[in-house]
Structures are given as C-alpha cells and as structure tokens.
Symmetry: C2
Subunit: 326 residues, 2 copies
C-alpha cells in the first residue's frame, strides 16, 4: 500500500474509533451486533466529483452530503441508523487539506447522527474522486415504511419545505431570480446539506401513522409518482398548500414560472408520506413535538397519475418531470 | 433518470429477484432479516477500471471478481454471506453487451454462493468504470475469526495453493517464465477468479479450530505480517512447505528467483489461519472433508517479525514485501 493511501487511511481510521466492531479498520471485515428484534435496512449511494458535487465544493460538506443522502433513505423507511461503510476511489496524490476537511465533515456528522465508520476501502483512480457509502439501519420487523402500501382516500403529507434544493443549486451557480444574500445563502445551504428526517421516520413507524413514505430526492412530483405507481393510485396536489421557505416564496414571487421547478426539482431530502385522514390531529401533534412542519398537500384517489392544481382548480403543467443531476 | 442509466438498471434489477427484501430495487433501501443470534459481518471493496482490472478483461469475470473479493473477506472472518449492495459509476453511454455480460457474471455467482443483490445505485462518470460492493454476512456472536488473537507456539496454515494469483497476473500480461498453454490458462484463471473459501471459514468457526485468520489478498508475507503485528508475535515459515500448484512449481523450477514473488505476491484469496498444534488431526480431517489442501507452513513464536527459511534453514530475502495493484 502506497504512502498516498496511507495518508487517506490515517484521516479515516479515527472515524471508526467509536465502533468496536470496526476493529480499527484493521481486519478483513467489520462486526455489527444487530439489536435483537431488528430488521436491517440497507442503502448505498455514490457521489462522483463533477457529477454530484463540484471539485471546489467544501470537502466537509461533500462528506456530510454523502452520509446524509444515505441517512435520508433510512429515514424514509423509518429506520434508525446503525453505522456505515465507505469506499473511495481517490485521484493521486491526494490533497491532504481536502482529505482532512473531508474527514472532519464526517466526524461532525457522526456525532450528530450517532453513527461511526465500520469499514471500507480506499484506492487510487485516474478519474474523478468517486465516493460510495453504504448505510445500515434497523427497524422493528415488518414495520419499515414502503412505497407500495398507500391507499385511496388518504392524505399526502410532506415534511419541511419544498423546492429549496433546486433553488439552492441554481443559486450556487449564480442563476435564478434576484434574492437577498441571506436568502441565497439559506438556499445554497439547503442544497449542500440535506437534513435527513430520521426522527420523523422513526416516529411515523412507532406511532403507525404513515401508510407509505419516500424521501424527496428526485423531486416532489417524481417521488410522489413513485408512490402512486407502486401503490396503483392517483393523487391530486394543491399547489397553494405546498410548504415553501421564505426564500422560495420570494423566488416564486419574483418569477411565478418557477413553480413547476419547485415541484419537479430534487435534492430536498424531505419525507413525503401518506396517512389516513383520521390521523390528522396526531400528525399535527407530531409536527409540534418534532418542531418540523408536516403539511398536508393533497390526497390519494383510485386511478392513475398525478394532478397538481392551482388556486382556481386548474391543472398546472409540470414541465420539469423529474430531476437529473447536473 | 436518463435512458442510459435505465439500461444498466434493467440488467441489474433481475439480480435482486431472489431477495424479497430488495423490494425489486424500487424502494429507498433494502430490508434484510438477520437470522436470530447472528452477528453481522460487513465488508466493502472497490474496483476501478485500469487499476484493478483491464478494460478488455471479460465483463463477467470482472463482476465475479468484484463479488468474490468481498466474499473472501467474509470467509476470512468465518461468516456466511447474506447478500450484497453495489454502486457503479459508469462511463456513458454504456456498452450494452458489456453490461449484459457483467450482469450475467453476477447472476452466475449469485447462484454459486447463494446471495442476491439487495440494493445500490448507478450513476454516470466522466472517469473509468468504478464499482463498489458491500457484502453482508453473519456469524455466531463472538465467534468471528480475527487477526489479533493468534498465540505463540501455534501452527500457521494456508488453504489451497500460494502464488498462483501473482503468476496469473504476469501470465495475463504475457510475462513470466515459459509455461505450457494449459498452465498459463490455469494461472490466469486463478488471478481473475478468486475462490472465496467460505466453507473453510464457516467450518473453522463451527469447530473452533482457528485462533486467527486473514485472507491472502496482499500476499502471503504481507498478510501473515498483519496477523503477527495485530497479535504481537513472530513467525517462521518453511519455504519448502508452501503449497504450490503444478503450474507454480513449473514456473519456480524454470526461474527459482520467483520464490520471493510467490511469497510476496497477492491476489491468491486463500485463507491463512493459525491453530494450536494439537488440532492438527482435526485440520487434516477438515481438509479431506472440504477436498481443499490445508497446509502447515510454519509456526508462531514470541517476538516480532517474519522469517522465511529455505530447505537448509537459511533465511530467504523477500524482495517483494507486499503487493501493490498494477
């Protein structure tokens, strides 16, 4: 193993210190005692420099986004995170300051989310930095939230605010409507640093509130369509009900045509879930308890397809159907 | 999602058909019910085109090597494989014939090893094809084989034959000593297609035969040193005792200087393990039962360092200390 990999490993090894089963990353594999009566929830995502993040994006934010997009997938299933593995194909020689800041970002989020690095692999590549992370979570057996289990007549809810990720990407490129520096900073932060809604996912499972769930990574419309297709249902969403941040509201007021982008754009990492109408009060109480907006944006019906209606009841054309990373 | 990714996903989705918890790769994450009383064993390795395999290597063998190097890590801990996740950063547009053959290789090995694809991610990359695989296994709690638990006075064993991986890499480049076509084909196959010694790993755990274990990926010398360093011990290995294939024996007889390479070269994916001398008969019986050579090649002592002795008891210089991928 070259000294170049050694440098990277030196920065990554401390991330495993909190996990005895990681065996200091010195063994062939890591050990993890799954809590008794737990079903495992497993997800893996890759990020490629120049595809999912820009080479000059701050390294700590790249690291945290890598971890958080995977934790968001666990949140969407209602799972509690148990740990993660990571592989990195690194252009050599590595930029030590970048590696150090990358590791510091992971360390910070490990604290925040109570997880540790369990294992992985570092190798060199003649191509761009390519990161792959596998997150492992646990959920009570049979209780994981899925996409295919929504029912007609139920309400559609979404957490937090919608469209900030898409506006944040535009703002980070210097595009989009004129906004205050503060609003731009808010949106860019929302784009770069997803907030995986783990507490919400766990609470939805514990209280049996949601019939289905997904995280909003491809865009509200595309992800709701995933639930509709898997469950064999139609949905009507009221555009006026969509929860928007102050910054998104300012952007929309400057350029009303952005509405389709807010509904179609990705990278929000909120939780979209469905629930029976009679659970509305419990969901409101949960929203208060978590200090997280949970907004009813529409309802499910028999049939197929998604219709988004404006305030006068006319269907809005969703020009941006899904989300493709830049 | 572009049609180009869709093509890749179409070939990969059937690999999840055997795992109900993979949810047809359609959900945010996969579910896996860990067998009761199981400790999880987790490992992840990445392969990069041009670094770990050549662009013109057969796609099915690349896929199988990716899976097998991870299964070999599970074998070294004595774990039984439960499933795997994979991420792939793919140069676009994908070569459909290559993708199809890659998926066929995985399908074949899924049958062989009783595992299925549980989840993952596919993305495009401007760089080389970069594959990352996380394998999940299970072992009886507290019984996983580790590196740090060898004891002075014990015997050092290795499975199968040693040096074939290194000779196979040379043969695949048209280098190395003159050998018969059959011998070259045997060595190249050994290099390209590791045989993870899963049955051996599980048996060593069940029968409590091994005090420590590691798989020979970096090279016999380097991997034995890993055990020695972790356990705080020294070892003496008898070169004459090393198990060599007929092809390796022919190569060594043509070029005796290759010995250091056989001991130092990597990619054998055999299991190196240590055991108390009084277990010798049980190990011989296990070898017979598994139809797999298990050869005593040396012994552990107090102290530090590895000495490899020739037939006259003189120490052999190991010029190639470890193994760096080409």
């Amino acid at each position: 193993m070259s000294d170049e990999f050694e440098l990277i490993r030196r920065y990554l090894a401390p991330l495993a210190a909190g996990a005895p089963g990681a065996l200091d990353l010195e063994d062939d594999a890591a050990l993890l005692a799954a809590p008794a009566g737990t079903e495992l929830v497993l997800t893996a995502d890759a990020l490629v420099a120049g595809v999912h993040f820009l080479p000059d994006d701050p390294a700590d934010l790249v690291a945290r986004k890598l971890l958080r997009v995977n934790l968001s997938d666990l949140a969407a299933m209602g799972a509690r995170p148990l740990g993660y593995l990571m592989t990195a194909a690194w252009p050599l020689p590595p930029d030590e300051a970048w590696v150090a800041r990358f590791a510091a970002g992971l360390a910070e989020d490990q604290q925040t989310f109570g997880v540790a690095l369990l294992g992985g692999d570092t190798t060199g590549t003649p191509g761009p930095l390519t990161l792959s992370l596998t997150a492992i979570g646990g959920v009570a057996p049979g209780r994981a939230l899925k996409r295919a289990t929504a029912r007609a007549g139920e309400s559609v809810y979404v957490s937090g605010s919608i469209g900030d990720g898409w506006l944040g990407l535009m703002a980070s490129r210097g595009e989009g409507p004129p906004l205050s520096a503060e609003q731009r900073a808010y949106l860019i932060d929302r784009y770069r640093l997803p907030r995986p809604r783990l507490a919400l996912g766990e609470a939805l499972v514990e209280e049996g509130l949601a019939s289905s769930a997904i995280d909003v990574s491809d865009g509200l419309a595309a992800d709701l369509r995933h639930i509709l297709e898997a469950s064999g249902l139609a949905a009507v969403v009221e555009a006026a009900a969509l929860p928007l941040s102050d910054a998104a509201r300012a952007a929309l007021s400057a350029e009303p045509a952005l509405l389709a982008g807010l509904i179609g754009g990705g990278d929000d990492y909120e939780i979209l879930f469905t629930a029976a109408p009679e659970r509305a009060e419990e969901i409101e109480a949960l929203s208060t308890r978590l200090d997280l907006p949970l907004t009813r944006i529409g309802r499910l019906a028999k049939g197929r397809g998604l219709a988004v209606l404006d305030a006068t009841g006319n269907e809005i054309s969703l020009e941006i159907k899904g989300w493709t990373h830049f």
